[in-house]
Subunit: 155 residues, 2 copies
Amino acid sequence: MRLTMMTDYAMRLLMYVAQHPDRLCTIAEVARVYDISEAHLMKVTHQLGLNGWIETVRGKGGGMRLAHPPDRINLGAVVRSMESDFQLTECFGSSNQCLLTGSCRLNGIVQDALQSFLRSFDAHTLADIVPPGSGGEVGRMRERTLTRVGKVRVA
Amino acid sequence: MRLTMMTDYAMRLLMYVAQHPDRLCTIAEVARVYDISEAHLMKVTHQLGLNGWIETVRGKGGGMRLAHPPDRINLGAVVRSMESDFQLTECFGSSNQCLLTGSCRLNGIVQDALQSFLRSFDAHTLADIVPPGSGGEVGRMRERTLTRVGKVRVA
């Protein structure tokens, strides 16, 4: 069982942006810091913007910032908005052809389990998962790692 | 978010076999009844056997049966044994390279959510999801469907 890459990356992007409340962050720097695909992050950023979790400023010097304070961004709401579907089994989908539909009780049990899963996230906000410390903490960790493994990167 | 095909098919296979306690069931008939891949079901059956949920009898007239009564087969235990991993986000995996590891609290929150999800299944056994009615109910539904849509199949 896995969450989609969209949700995984969305959480990490929000955590990074939350650590830099004093400035706009760019997709390029988030991709560099986490060493993940810039193309994928563009999709994630677009979706986060559509869902109202971040605001983006276009043009030179542009970037993104949180649309709400971290303690107003509920993680359950973020997960629900980023997962494309919750078709845990075939009988959840619109193309369901299982012949047991209507007579078996698996669907109800899986639905209950899914709601329990999401309620766990509902109990937390972005403020609960932002690493402690000042603004550039993640960036500094990245720099230390790059120095340690001897990589050279050009932004 | 999705469960793997292994878990989805395992649940359906167990439900079918539970409906026929008086005889051995074959992979071919389960594949035909649910209209799903026989090759995939072979892998599922093998795994269910390894995990001790079913017993298989080889040779002509062979097939499979439940290794325990349906009310002794816990769904939480089945899900745990069939899912290849529960790496809901990158930081769950052995190849985790996220630089926030050790300082962020997302992993703990995702772990709690996963445990809530599994506990929901722990509260149920196979007996809870077997459709009511006598033995060949699924097979009869299949026959009715095939008749209705005008398909002709050779076993």
